[in-house]
Amino acid sequence: MLKNLRRRVSGTTIAMWVIGAILLIVVIVGTVRTLLIGKYTGADWTDLIVYGISQGSIYALIALGYTMVYGILRMINFAHGDIFMAGAFIGYFVASYFDQTGFLEQNLVLSLIFVTLVAAFTAAAMAVVLERIAYRPLRRAPRLVPLITAIGASFFIEYAFLGLFGSGIKGYPEPEALKGRVSIFGVEILKTQLIVIVAAVVMLIALWYFVQRTKMGKAIQAVSEDKDAAALMGINVDRSIMITFLVGGALAGAAGVLYALLFRQVYFFMGFFPGLKAFTAAVLGGIGNIAGAMVGGLFLGIAESLFPNLVLDGLGIPAPYQLKDALAFFLLVLVLIFRPTGILGERLATKKA
């Protein structure tokens, strides 16, 4: 860090550090004032943090797809948020079918697992098809070409879903057993939040095992490192990339179901903001870095739920929750400007070195 400073002390650098310092002061002043006013109780803060963790674990699941694809193709899969949306939709159709037949109430655990599996499977299939049709032919194209393709694919999927399934917000069925709160270590927590957190942790561990311990996972790591060298070592590059999309898609699809459990609504544009935020989380954690995506997701989730009340409220900004999304993007911009390597990542954001 210090070396960087010495090397490029130019006008813009100084300006950026001044901006950074001002922001830091603003954050500190806001926080201190909020705490001094004491508008919120301890329980409020715990609620916000728990909410942040559950939200953040969903971001983490989506972020993994971004980060793995970026690691292997150096490409932002802009349509990944829509794979997540597709998972939520499929989950919705299956869940409401179970709801009609009464299976959902009778056999909650089994039906939830089944819903998640179907959603994950469909989303994974979509991700693989997307890769095959839209991305594979462009593997050697200039960097912006696949990005523009991905943006196109994102809007295509969104509006195809709008056309196919309608524009209305669909309410997710809510089984009786999932209403209310439970108490864990003295913390009151919504049952759905608990499920989301537990499910996310299970999936994250499974992914960790897959990448680190299985042959296929290692092949993916090798391809991320150097495609040509991996091909020379007899690794099937196309297949590794396909598996990456498959795994990323499955996680996003499952995340879609969890998201719908938490917010109980599904609509065609729902993938956009979570997608962008998950990308933010991936960048926060250092894009290409799997552990980073998990950390980044959690950090973003908590920051997003805590910061509006903690910082903006103290600054006297009315209705600070309205700026929640703006805050997440602001964080993205700041990270990319000041620390493009993310919290744990390698330096990828600037072309050189």
């Binding site: 196109g152 195809a160 196919l164 072309k351």
Partner: protein
């Protein structure tokens, strides 16, 4: 595939199945049903049916062409026809399956457009058993017809093809402009014949005409070119004669041309993918509103459109420079996401209660006056159109001049290879910033005009979709190409504005267009041209 690949009968089956999936998708997504009321031939053929016919045409032709494998011997006639027929049949089978399943189970709980109206259309109104057979027979017939088309000599094939495309295009344009109900059958036939004959003759005589005109002395050539420009100019100026509603559409198209020209400088020339372009559009619009609307009481100045205009442009330009500084060191794809983030931040902040006392929050700003000059109010679309045209001409002029200058070459060098450009002595930050600010200024200009056209603005108007829309416009036209921007805006903004029933499908089409263009034709419909500098100094001829 190096060796002559063998022909397999699976090829037409797969081609047909893909076509079937496309037809199924168009049906279920609702495009077919939405355009049932839009007649191409009055009372006989609707646009929805034309879409399905187009699927038959495209995939039958493809299957027929694939009957001759790559590097293989030319397929016998029967095989070409059979392949086309199989493809047509497969499409019909897929659609028939939909109807059969749909009659048994109500699919509407999932697919909202799987309605009886659709089934009726697919079965020619004959109901399940008979209609299905007719549908299958129809598929075979379409396949064979388009197979025959493939077998025709090239000139004839092209004439018929162009004729077939001309009928729906002209009919829809006519209906949309004059609230018509499609062409009458005899008229449609006349259109088909005339356009087919015209293209046939053009193909025959294009070369001799071109060589003759090139043989003319350069003075006469220049006069001819000037004549073409004057005609084009008159045409553009005469367009508002079409009426109020078409002018409205023209104004919107023009605003997108303006934004497209600006974004073209940023993305097309300098290769910086800016997804937050709408931010500068919003800034231009808000500055215009703040300067002119009587609703804004905190701002000391209340003035007219013309005084506010330069402020709007300058503020947008300044914002471009300020936002540009921190992001321009970033690599291309990160730049895209960060600019997108900036755009959303600006929209969300404008929407929030925080700035509500200043810019109205979600209520926006209303009562923005229309421009007036010497007492002449530009109060209807026909008049506003001319303001937009002037803006576009200025923007196109600036864009052209910049393109063929040192700055333009520097931008293109940066686009081609940033590191090498820097090694050629190009100051990256300075040059990128100039591109960013120029683009932002044009976007601000468009925003200012937009604000006074609508007389009221809301944060909702400035979402990401506008940025994507402009991006699609310049990519379809051809990155870096100025005529391309106009073609792109007409095709992607003007046409959908005219065809209101497709409003819901606009972004679906944009998405598909972006993917398709990147995969198949990344240079766009009207690719960027390079001037010849070595041998014909500064003449506008096209290189390559």
């Amino acid at each position: 595939m190096k060796s002559a690949s063998k022909f397999s009968w699976m090829t037409p089956v797969t081609t047909g199945l893909i076509g079937g999936v496309v037809a199924l998708f168009l049906s279920l997504v609702g495009i077919v049903e939405a355009s049932l009321g839009r007649y191409v031939i009055t009372g006989i053929l609707s646009m929805g049916q034309v879409f399905l016919l187009a699927v038959y045409a495209i995939f039958a032709v493809q299957a027929a062409q694939k009957a001759t494998p790559e590097h293989g011997e030319k397929a016998p006639v029967y095989r070409t026809l059979a392949c086309a027929a199989i493809a047509g049949l497969m499409i019909s089978i897929v659609l028939a399956l939909l109807v059969v399943v749909g009659e048994q189970i109500d699919l509407r709980g999932v697919f909202i457009h799987a309605t009886p109206v659709l089934y009726d259309l697919l079965t020619f109104g004959l109901g399940v058993p008979q209609g299905i057979f007719v549908l299958l027979g129809f598929g075979l017939l379409m396949g064979i017809l388009f197979g025959v088309l493939v077998l025709l000599p090239k000139a004839l094939r092209k004439s018929i093809g162009v004729g077939l495309i001309a009928v729906p295009v002209l009919s829809v344009t006519y209906s949309a402009l004059f609230a018509g109900r499609g062409l009458q059958l005899p008229v449609a036939i006349a259109v088909f014949v005339i356009s087919a004959v015209a293209i046939f003759l053009w193909d025959r005589f294009e070369k001799p005409i071109r060589t003759r005109s090139q043989a003319l002395p350069s003075g006469q050539q220049r006069t001819m070119r000037l004549g073409v420009w004057v005609l084009a100019g008159l045409f553009v100026l005469a367009l508002p004669l079409l009426g109020s509603y078409p002018s409205e559409v023209l104004v919107i198209t023009g605003i997108f041309v303006l934004m497209g020209l600006g974004l073209n400088i940023v993305v097309g020339y300098a290769g910086l993918l800016d997804l937050g372009y709408v931010a500068f559009f919003a800034i231009g619009a808000y500055v215009m509103a703040i300067f002119t609307s009587p609703e804004i009481t905190w701002f000391p100045i209340h003035t007219s459109f013309w005084v506010a205009l330069p402020f709007a442009v300058l503020t947008a330009m300044l914002a471009g420079a300020i936002l540009g500084i921190p992001v321009l060191n970033m690599r291309g794809d990160y730049l895209a996401i960060v600019t997108l983030g900036f755009g959303e931040i600006i929209r969300l902040v404008a929407l929030s209660d925080w700035l509500k006392p200043l810019i109205g929050g979600s209520n926006g700003i209303t009562q923005i006056p229309k421009p007036t000059t010497f007492g002449l109010a530009f109060d209807n679309p026909q008049k506003l159109y001319y303001i937009v045209v002037i803006g576009c001409v200025i923007a196109a002029f600036i864009a052209t001049r910049l393109k063929y200058s040192r700055l333009g070459r520097n931008w293109m060098a940066i686009r081609e290879d940033e590191d090498v450009a820097q090694a050629m002595g190009i100051d990256l930050v300075r040059n990128k910033l100039l591109a960013f600010a120029t683009g932002a200024a044009l976007s601000g200009l468009a925003g200012a005009i937009f604000a006074s056209k609508l007389t009221s603005i809301y944060p909702h108007s400035f979402n990401l979709l506008v940025s994507i829309n402009v991006l699609a416009v310049i990519i379809v036209g051809g990155l870096g190409s100025i005529p391309g921007v106009i073609i792109g805006a007409v095709a992607l903004v003007g046409l959908p504005e005219l065809l209101r029933e497709f409003a819901e499908y606009r972004l679906l089409v944009y998405g598909a267009v972006l993917v398709f263009m990147m995969l198949r034709r990344p240079e766009g419909l009207l690719p960027e041209a390079r001037r010849k500098l070595e041998l014909h100094e500064m003449s506008p001829d096209v290189a390559e």
